[in-house]
């Protein structure tokens, strides 16, 4: 019937076609490389900066390129049963601070970008808001940063990545400003290499698998054939419920990560793209960079001492340091969620991408209902049964604090939580610590996240939730990344024995310390070509 056909067609085109040749590739697809170099630049001469930009423009990797390579990589890996080592790609993306953009365009152009935090920049005021410490008693938390902040402002941040370290080195040499770009070409003020851990691939330095949970971004790579950026494996939910691409991966409208697209509001309704102050803002995204140094020895020592103490209590008999760490994080070192395997780690669960993120915090998690014909099945691991038992995963566990899932929060319902999600693209830096003693080396995480609003997304997660004992729900601070200036951080730990009371953990020391960073805007490739590189 024509009417039904019309309705069906309307539903099919409801997600926007993404400008795959305009959006930088790391934003929505993610480089996912084992080797990644960050290069911080200062603009010295605007003309030379533009000239250099024009030179490197063809090397700015697009969503189309990165998406297609990642798809090929997955395809090869599924056939080989391991990573295809011969399949190598090298990418580069670029982002600009507010000052950097103002120099290359105009102050009024830069001022029209819609984010208050970006406008101010990650200097002392915003660092203070984030609760960043002042170890030397300074008033400026960024005073001792090695990059960014008040003393080392960055105008341009390059992200270069490759599957092959040697090729990455070549790419860096090829693309960073060089004498041929002129004496006043942008100055390299800092660069640092990030590396996937060879001993524990995908794990951060505390030893936990990182990056397991990423939102699924809506939008089409192409209309014909119809290819979604995020493959759909699950049946559509009922009215008023959150839609998921695969178990544990909610679908979020692209306007929450890239400017110029529809977004979901706090009640879950799709809203049209908001108007932009400049046409060239479209397809751009705000980038947060934080150089987070990790005190691995201190963290391990605290876990051991605190586990020793707790293990003698009635509520936590025999608890190990690894178990306590899992409660701090909400996942075991392998990445297996505490909610699904509360008694111990389960590497098989961690390795099952259809199961390792499939859990709720407030409710008993129902089994996934896959679309007919997708040809996948999730492992038969125990379901998360939070709703029947009370909290299994502590509400101050890191993964709860930054993504409370189905739990209502201080800011509203689960739909509001979707508006806080970010796309994380971090990678460890420094060599892993191989002993229990601190070796004095600098190691940690190059935290990188993309979002449409730094204020409403990244800063809410850090300031309003991780740092706050009473939010997103009551339960204490995030002991992994939470920061407080006035008191020791605390965490309410539910008892492991149902009839016993819980414990309040007090952590006087912060093991993750910001030592650099900045707020940036990653413009579209067309904006670099047509605006930034030409003035």
């Amino acid at each position: 019937m024509p009417r039904a056909k019309s309705v069906a067609r309307k539903k099919l085109v409801s997600e926007p076609l993404l400008d795959v040749h305009e959006i930088q590739g790391n934003i929505l697809a993610g480089f996912n490389k084992d080797h990644q170099r960050l290069v911080g630049l200062r603009i010295r001469g605007v003309a030379e900066a533009r000239k250099w930009l024009a030179r490197i423009l063809p090397h700015v990797s697009s969503l189309a390129e990165v998406y297609q390579f990642n798809a090929l990589f997955r395809l090869r890996r599924s056939r080989l049963g391991r990573d295809p080592v011969c399949l190598v790609a090298s990418w580069m993306n670029i982002a600009f601070s507010r000052d950097g953009l103002a120099q290359l365009t105009s102050d009024s152009d830069a001022a029209a970008l819609p984010d208050a935090a970006f406008q101010i920049g990650l200097t002392k005021d915003r660092a203070d808001l984030l609760g960043d410490p002042t170890p030397g008693g300074e008033t400026d938390p960024t005073a001792r940063w090695v990059i960014g902040g008040t003393n080392h402002p960055v105008d341009i941040l390059m992200i270069l990545a490759s599957d092959d370290k040697t090729r990455l080195d070549s790419l860096v040499v090829q693309l960073r400003p060089a004498p041929m770009d002129g004496l006043s070409a942008p100055e390299i003020i800092w660069e640092e290499q990030g590396e996937t851990r060879t001993d524990l691939p995908g794990h951060e330095h505390f030893g936990f698998k990182d990056g397991v949970s990423q939102p699924g971004v809506r939008g089409l790579i192409s209309r014909r054939p119809r290819i979604y950026l995020t493959p759909r494996l699950l049946k559509a939910p009922g009215t008023g419920e959150i839609a998921f691409a695969k178990p544990g991966q909610p679908l979020i409208w692209p306007g929450q990560f890239v400017l110029g697209y529809p977004f979901g509001d706090r009640d879950g309704a799709m809203q049209p793209a908001p108007p932009l102050g400049r046409a060239w803002f479209k397809n751009g995204s705000f980038l947060v960079f934080r150089r987070l140094e990790q005190n691995v020895a201190g963290f391990s020592a605290f876990l051991k001492a605190e586990a020793d103490r707790l293990s003698k209590t009635a509520g936590f008999p025999g608890i190990s340091a690894e178990h306590l760490g899992a409660l701090f994080v909400g996942r075991w070192p392998s990445g297996a969620p505490v909610s699904r395997t509360p008694g111990g780690d389960n590497p098989d669960l961690a390795a099952d991408s259809l199961s390792n993120n499939d859990f709720l915090f407030t409710e008993d998690t129902p089994p996934p209902v896959f679309l007919p014909g997708v040809g996948v099945t999730a492992g038969t691991f125990p379901r998360a049964m939070e709703g029947s038992k009370g909290p299994v995963c502590p509400h101050a566990a890191h993964i709860f604090k930054v993504n409370p899932r189905d739990s209502a929060t201080n800011l509203g319902p689960d739909f509001d939580t979707l508006t806080r999600r970010i796309l994380r693209r971090g990678i460890p830096f420094g060599t892993p610590l191989t002993s229990l003693e601190d070796d004095g080396a600098s190691r940690g995480l190059h935290f990188l996240s993309y979002q449409a609003s730094i204020v409403d997304q990244f800063e809410i997660l850090q300031q309003n939730w991780a740092n706050n004992t009473g939010a997103p729900t009551s339960g204490g601070n995030d002991l992994i990344i939470g920061q407080t200036k006035t008191a020791a951080r605390t965490m309410d730990l539910p008892s492991l024995v149902p009839s016993q009371g819980g414990e309040k953990i007090s952590a006087p020391v912060e093991w993750v310390k910001p030592t650099g960073g900045g707020y940036f805007f990653a413009p579209s490739i067309g904006a670099i070509r047509g605006v930034l590189a030409v003035g």
Binding site: L129, G240, A408, L411, D414, G470, S474
Partner: protein
């Protein structure tokens, strides 16, 4: 041992038995309302109880799990919609005149005082329900007047607050010239008790699945306003306890409280901190009913000189955005009660919230 209920404003010299009796009746009304809904659908055990009269003994009444439910004090409806969209701070605190309530609906209201230059000199916050003050107006007018004179202005007179014997909650000292207590219609203590009571009732949707998510549950149960930070969060938290089979009541002393102000990022010129600027005026640190953000005596700055994350304060709402509110529920050990979820109220159309019902049942004889 049953808990004793004391009135929210226990710091006042008001005779507790009177206030406690009134509040106990609120609990009884809540139990009756929740019970009626269960009975209408085949019965069950009401999971909300009045701790004064319930008479439960043993483990069932042990406060094995105290659940703090928190929410942000700035009204959600004034937030920007799009990512990075600015909040409508001006809309949240328009110039108010007598007879008009504030449109601040997160159980936190505030009054901004400015000097002749338009600079903010203080922002006073309150979270006390108006029903308590109406109760005072009927039972202890002198105490009511004393509170206004202490916290708002010594110039307040009885005639400013009353028309005859009737307390006018929207008098000038609680609207244009101050904020003694909450004014928004839904911001009352009775509504809080009713909301908690009705949220203990488990619900199912049209196809028989239990309703658990905050917004669908709020709409299904019609126990509050789904557009607020507070109501869905409170209802969802309480209902979560109910689904675990617990008996539930509200912690003593019953009330909604200012949990804390997060002043990270608050700075004065010269990078000075705002130590001492946020003061509790009424209540205790654990149960804060009234607070002010203002320069300490002798300070050279005004509130307008303070920046939050580098952004100057122009509205009281910017401070409210950093205030966490709190309600504490008390729940018994789990798996004591296994009620069958009942259908939603009505057929998902007309807004008929328990709070509106509660408000209509209050003895609101004040100006409207």
């Amino acid at each position: 041992m049953p808990l004793a209920i004391t009135v929210t404003s226990r710091a006042t010299p008001l005779s507790p038995p009177n206030g406690a009796s009134r509040l106990s009746k609120d609990f009884d009304d809540g139990v009756a309302g929740a019970n009626a809904k269960l009975v209408a659908h085949g019965g069950g055990t009401c999971q909300f109880y009045n701790p004064v009269t319930h008479g439960l003994t043993g483990a069932d009444v042990t406060p094995a799990s105290a659940g703090e439910i928190t929410w942000n004090g700035f009204p959600r409806k004034f937030l920007g919609t799009a990512p990075g969209g600015a909040a409508d701070f001006a809309g949240a605190e328009p110039t108010l005149t007598s007879g008009h309530s504030r449109n601040q609906d997160e159980y936190l209201e505030w009054h901004v005082t400015r000097n002749g230059s338009g600079k903010i000199t203080s922002v006073e916050f309150t979270c006390e329900g108006y029903d308590y003050y109406e109760f005072l107006g009927r039972e202890a007018a002198d105490i009511l007047l004393g509170l206004y004179q202490k916290f708002i202005s010594p110039a307040v007179r009885h005639a400013d607050l009353f028309t005859g014997a009737q307390y006018q909650k929207l008098n000038r000292w609680n609207t244009a010239d101050g904020a003694m207590h909450l004014t928004q219609q839904a911001n009352n203590l009775f509504a809080e008790v009713i909301l908690a009571a009705e949220a203990t009732v488990r619900r199912r949707d049209a196809v028989g699945r239990e309703v658990t998510a905050a917004i669908p549950l709020t709409k299904c149960s019609q126990f509050g306003d789904a557009r607020r930070n507070s109501d869905p969060t409170i209802g969802s938290g309480v209902n979560g306890f109910a689904r675990q089979g617990r008996m539930i009541t509200l912690a003593n002393p019953v009330g909604l409280y200012i949990d804390h102000l997060d002043d990270a990022g608050f700075r004065l010129p010269g990078d000075l901190p705002v130590d001492g600027w946020f003061q509790i005026l009424r209540g205790t640190p654990a149960h804060t009913l009234r607070a002010v953000f203002a320069p300490p005596r002798g300070a050279a700055f005004t509130v307008s000189d303070v920046t939050i994350g580098g952004i100057p304060i122009k509205f009281g709402g910017q401070i409210a955005q950093n205030i966490t509110m709190r309600l504490t529920g008390v729940a018994s050990v789990a798996n004591n009660v296994q009620n069958t979820p009942i259908p939603c109220e009505g057929a998902g159309g007309a807004v008929h919230t328990a709070i509106a019902v509660a408000a209509s049942r209050l003895p609101t004889r004040g100006a409207s």
